[in-house]
């Protein structure tokens, strides 16, 4: 995943509106540019950009944005007919519906998933970017995965009932 895609994916999970996410990406790069010119040369660009993006989102958007609206579980209706359980159910899930489902998670879990599972950072890098202990990241990561997995399980069971 390229650095731009990485920042975009993080931004998309920090602010609900697409336009705000794109603004956040731009602000992230401008901040990185300013820091770079001043001599900041990170060993790895990706975690550095992730940290800038998270910090900007927290400082600028959290105040402005209302808490993300809870997303109903209606995305389960997007699932196509499922005859075989997990694999087909997963394949049939609509990415947009899953993105909406991620907004049902708390910010910490959502960000941990974005950094590790989407952006490919290690949990140590994610912990540094998030400013939390690695153990916290592991916990948020797993609980976020588990919450989404249970959603899928519920859907499958509903379909099979």
């Amino acid at each position: 995943m390229g650095a731009m895609d990485l920042v975009y994916n993080i931004a998309r999970r920090m602010v609900p509106r697409l336009e705000d996410a794109q603004d956040l990406v731009q602000e992230t790069y401008l901040a990185a540019f300013a820091a770079w010119v001043k001599g900041r040369k990170p060993d790895r660009v990706e975690p550095w950009l992730a940290t800038i993006c998270l910090n900007l989102a927290r400082s600028r958007y959290r105040r402005e944005s209302r808490r993300p609206q809870e997303v109903s579980m209606e995305f389960a209706q997007d699932v196509a007919d499922i005859s075989d359980p997990e694999r087909e159910a997963l394949a049939s899930l609509d990415a947009a519906a899953l993105r909406r489902a991620m907004w049902t998670l708390g910010e910490g879990q959502r960000v941990a998933l974005a950094l590790v599972d989407i952006s490919g950072l290690s949990t140590s890098e994610a912990a540094k970017a998030m400013g939390t202990p690695r153990g916290t990241v592991l916990s948020r990561l797993h609980r976020g995965r588990r919450s989404l997995a249970r959603l899928l399980g519920d859907q499958v069971r509903e379909r099979e009932a």
Partner: protein, 239 residues
């Protein structure tokens, strides 16, 4: 469990599903999994959840990349930057590419205009300063289709830039300038009677010449560079 004092299915599942267990630790955990319902359940859920999350991965819209480049190109430069404008432009160009994750470009070894041109070639992106001054050479006879032509600023060196693609979609960039291009690091002289040079940098081939105009051609595939040169020779000299 697994080298730690307590049995922690959540933590172990998170590490295992994230692929962050060392080989020996992973082997022990996999043996443990067979007899531990809690860990088995957590790993199953973790895998399933990770699969769902990966489905949500997105690609940044193409326009966003251009917007960011444009924003950086007009951003005020912090005062600690060297004052000379040429250097500032070089820093901006090189930096923009570096931040965009354009791999570990060793552009700092190159003269700034060459580094900027390499960056544009690697990212296949031109940050336009306006329309090109000269018409794009027609290289269709070489099987190359013009994709875009722009006026660009290569770290202080004004140039027209033309991007072509062959039928396989591979890109080659042609820079044409009224100013002589600087010589790339480790360049060797051209052997075809043209005052120019050829070089390899960052896995790309660069060829520079001054007839029929000052030009610089860059591509991953050296044969594409040759096609452009052939096409230029058969092109009428621009007025």
């Amino acid at each position: 469990m697994i080298g730690r004092s307590s049995h922690d299915p959540e933590r172990d599942a998170a590490l295992y599903v994230s692929g962050e267990m060392r080989q020996a630790e992973r082997g022990r955990f996999e043996s443990h999994l067979l007899g531990c319902d809690d860990c088995w359940r957590e790993v199953s859920l973790g895998r399933r959840g990770r699969g769902m999350v990966e489905i949500t991965r997105e690609i940044a819209p193409p326009g966003l990349r251009d917007d960011v480049r444009a924003a950086i190109s007009v951003a005020p430069v912090p005062t600690r930057v060297p004052r000379r404008l040429v250097l500032v432009a070089a820093v901006v160009s090189v930096l923009a590419v570096s931040i965009f994750g354009a791999a570990q470009i060793r552009s700092r070894q190159q003269p700034p205009p060459i580094a900027a041109a390499l960056a544009a070639a690697r990212t296949e992106t031109l940050t336009a300063r306006g329309p090109s001054e000269q018409p794009a050479p027609d290289l269709s006879s070489q099987g190359l289709e013009l994709v875009m032509g722009e006026r660009v600023d290569l770290a202080g060196l004004a140039s027209d830039a033309f991007m072509y693609r062959n039928t396989a979609g591979e890109a080659v960039l042609l820079f044409v300038s009224r100013t002589t291009f600087p010589v790339a690091h480790d360049a060797t002289s051209q052997a075809l009677g043209v005052n120019g040079w050829t070089a390899q940098s960052d896995g790309m081939t660069l060829v520079c010449g001054d007839r029929p105009m000052n030009y610089l051609v860059i591509a991953h595939d050296p044969s594409l560079v040759g096609l452009v040169e052939n096409g230029l020779v058969s092109e009428p000299t621009p007025s």
